[in-house]
Amino acid sequence: MTSDVQVTQAPALEMRGITKRYPGVLANAGISLDVRPGEIHALLGENGAGKTTLMNILYGLARPDAGEILVDGTPVEITSPHDAIAHRISMVHQHFMLVPVLSVSDNILLGEEPMAGPIFLDRARAHRRIRELGKTFGWEIDPDQRVESLSVGWQQRVEILKALYRNARILVLDEPTAVLTPQETKEIFAVLRRLRAEGYAIIFISHKLHEVLEIADRITVIRRGKVVGSRTPAATNEEDLAEMMVGREVNLTADRGTSHPGEVILRVEQVRVKDDRRSEVVQGVDLEVRSGEILGIAGVAGNGQDELVEAIVGLRRPSSGRIELAGRDVTHAGPRQRHRLGVGFVPADRHRFGLVLSFPLTDNFILTDYYEPPYARGIIRNEAAIDARARRGIRDYDVRTPSATVTTGTLSGGNQQKLIVAREFDGEQRLLVLDQPTRGLDVGSIEFIHGQTIAKRDAGTAILLVSAELDEVLELSDRIAVIYRGQIVAVRDGRTADKNEIGILMATGGSGASGSPSSPAA
């Protein structure tokens, strides 16, 4: 904890009355926030509450319409990241700001290049400095390694080194744990505590309540661009914070009830799939999902989940193996055939798959069925049926939109996702494949989608849930399969699974075959 001396110190950073208006939205309405040296101040809020806008203003990526920023009590003008860095403010962005094809050291020194003469970089000097900085945390860093070959956890360490390399004192971390395993989260928390002890002022942005309670000295909640209140972790709890965030009472854990698995709907046998670079990323996966059951796949992103899902819904051809749907071989069936056999699919990247953002909501509602009656009469669209379909979806799934004919791209992420869910969940599905169904969504939307998922399961649908959010997998799944380097390394019961064990399996694949292989016998 912080000492008294530090608490009485003046804020290292103070933002006063920050207001920012985008066309049609008041993103920040007079937000004030401060952080002291040696303090972790958590900024909590739903997506679209204005957290990112506020931090973009602090970092010079956006200009406020009103308000001022003070560093060490002195008002400063921050018009570009360059200014922010000059005031020793550094940010670790949610989507890492690293250039994948460049080396670790090039990424760290970019913008603050040590020079040998007027033209050439002094990479040797940077290497020494980076190794030294890494050593203070016990990290063995290879400055020449390409960033794209690093795991997500290590990329984040590079981001932190980037900030320290610039002699930052004020550190902003935007959703730093969103992509980490529980173990990696623990490690980053240890790093943050250490930086706090060394007197760094840290702003920690999150929407994960338990993390905020664990790490923060102070928590400020914002909703719809306004500060709702501030708390210390001791004086609050998850329910209280959730209510402040959403503005109403929230059911934090979905009540999954009991499941009644029936016959096998999806059977995946020894499926192998190659990715776009032709390396085999799914290496012989066996899976079964029964009707009325949720099978969760837990795994660190990039362990073959995406390719496996694409093979199951028909977007990618497996190089070998067999996929059966309700006893029928669909290994070589296309996506439309599978859809007609009752496969619903909520893709991970709703901007690339699942929605045409430039279409009105109506057209997106019939994207999978436009060619069939009642939406088509011969080659002519049946506008009345299409319109009715959209209205029903909007009503039943609480899609917040000014009308059914606005462009889908204007909706918030949560409402876009509800649109996909409304389309894919509607009707008599045998199988629902949900890939990261709540990524980037706010607590309210997550609550809704989780509720709908459980309702579909109880109605007898087989559900395959893939999520990088271990909490989500643990909360919803009846069974959990852990995927590691393209293989299912373990299957556990969803109700008794141990979060730590799953986390370790995700990160390491378990101990694998016990012992090292001895020299082969003749």
């Binding site: 997506n47 860095i85 962005h93 690293l98 033209i119």
Partner: protein
């Protein structure tokens, strides 16, 4: 020795290959300088592409910049020659008029590039369309002005001349041929090699190079460490214009001493192909340009002087157009064979918007 060669030549089918190799060895000393001359405008165009695209701006207007610079260089030479006068000096035949003309050509190229930069970076127009506009406008304008001017048939300002190394050099195998290729050249072709090496080193070892690559791969990441993405892109595109202009100047002031309508003949586009085959590196681009230029020199050589013997009879049956098409065929084959593994900068062709905050 000769007996052995004759024996090899007479092997069925395989003998044709030996004959071909023999023919190539025979003509290389003669065509070595021509290869670099053919490659110079293509390689410079490719370098222009590398410099633009490494910073994230696609430039298909290189052809247009080249023809405009070729025209401006030649015509400015025509205009200033009477005033400045002077006889060609011993040093590459340089005259004051030629230098002024070269400067004008470079300036013209940079100005057109500035237009492309403004359209693609500030206006965020479609970069393909911007480049296409430049090509069409440059061809139309230079063609029209050339027609107007050529009726008065003015005398040109001459051209840069080539260095003449002692002829014995060409007799030394390999080393001599390379020396011949590098030395029997005018100033622009000679400087190409220097430009490639300097560009390659700067791209990977200097602050400018690192920032350029960062901006072309992930502009937002570059911006978050305080780099001015817009400025880096403007600077690169405008500088690249000078490279394309140099390619144009080569055509009207070193390769020839006159301007002809459409004299770039697709070299700007071949340069773009060379950029891709060379994987967006200066050395790779030069290599690709040399490959294309070699195919062209070989094709020309065969159509002018058919090889003797069986091979010659066989080649004689092919239509002459085949040899004209040879360099393009080589380009298509190499492009098709390599393009799958040639990955462009990640943000290539994407306009950058500053305040488009991540959602």
């Amino acid at each position: 020795m000769d007996g052995l060669i004759q024996l090899l030549y007479s092997v069925p089918v395989l003998g044709l290959l030996f004959q071909f190799v023999g023919y190539v060895i025979e003509i290389v000393p003669r065509i070595a300088p021509i290869i670099l001359q053919n490659a110079t405008p293509i390689a410079l165009a490719a370098l222009c592409g590398v410099m633009c695209e490494r910073s994230g701006v696609v430039n298909i207007g290189i052809e247009g910049i080249m023809i405009a610079a070729a025209f401006v260089g030649w015509y400015v030479g025509v205009l200033v020659q009477p005033a400045l006068g002077g006889d060609p000096s011993a040093f590459f035949g340089v005259t004051p008029a030629l230098l002024v003309a070269l400067g004008a050509a470079l300036l013209a190229g940079m100005l057109i590039s500035l237009l492309h930069a403004w359209l693609s970076i500030t206006v965020r127009a479609d970069q393909i369309i911007s480049g296409t506009i430049i090509n069409i406008a440059a061809f139309g304008l230079t063609g029209y002005l050339n027609t107007l001017i050529s009726t008065t048939s003015p005398n040109g300002a001459g051209a840069f001349t080539r260095f003449r190394p002692p002829p014995e050099i060409a007799d030394i195998p390999v080393v001599g041929w390379i020396a011949e290729m590098l030395l029997r050249q005018g100033p622009i072709a000679m400087s190409l090699i220097v430009i490639v090496i300097v560009f390659q080193v700067l791209l990977f070892r200097s602050r400018w190079g690192l920032r350029t690559r960062a901006v072309g791969e992930h502009p937002r990441a570059a911006e978050t460490v305080g780099i001015d993405v817009i400025w880096v892109r403007y600077r690169n595109v405008v500088l690249a214009g000078a490279l394309a202009a140099l390619a144009g100047a080569y055509l009207s002031m070193e390769g020839t001493n006159s301007f002809q309508q459409g004299m770039t003949a697709g070299r700007g586009f071949i340069g773009l192909a060379a950029m891709i085959v060379g994987r967006w590196t200066p050395v790779g681009a030069l290599g690709a340009a040399l490959l294309f230029a070699s195919a062209r020199a070989l094709g020309d050589s065969i159509s002018f002087a058919r090889p003797p013997g069986e091979l010659g009879t066989l080649l004689g049956q092919l239509p002459g157009q085949f040899f004209d098409a040879l360099p393009y065929l080589v380009t298509i084959i190499v492009l098709a064979g390599l393009i799958g593994r040639s990955i462009p900068p990640a943000a290539d062709g994407q306009p950058y918007e500053r305040e488009k905050a991540a959602a």
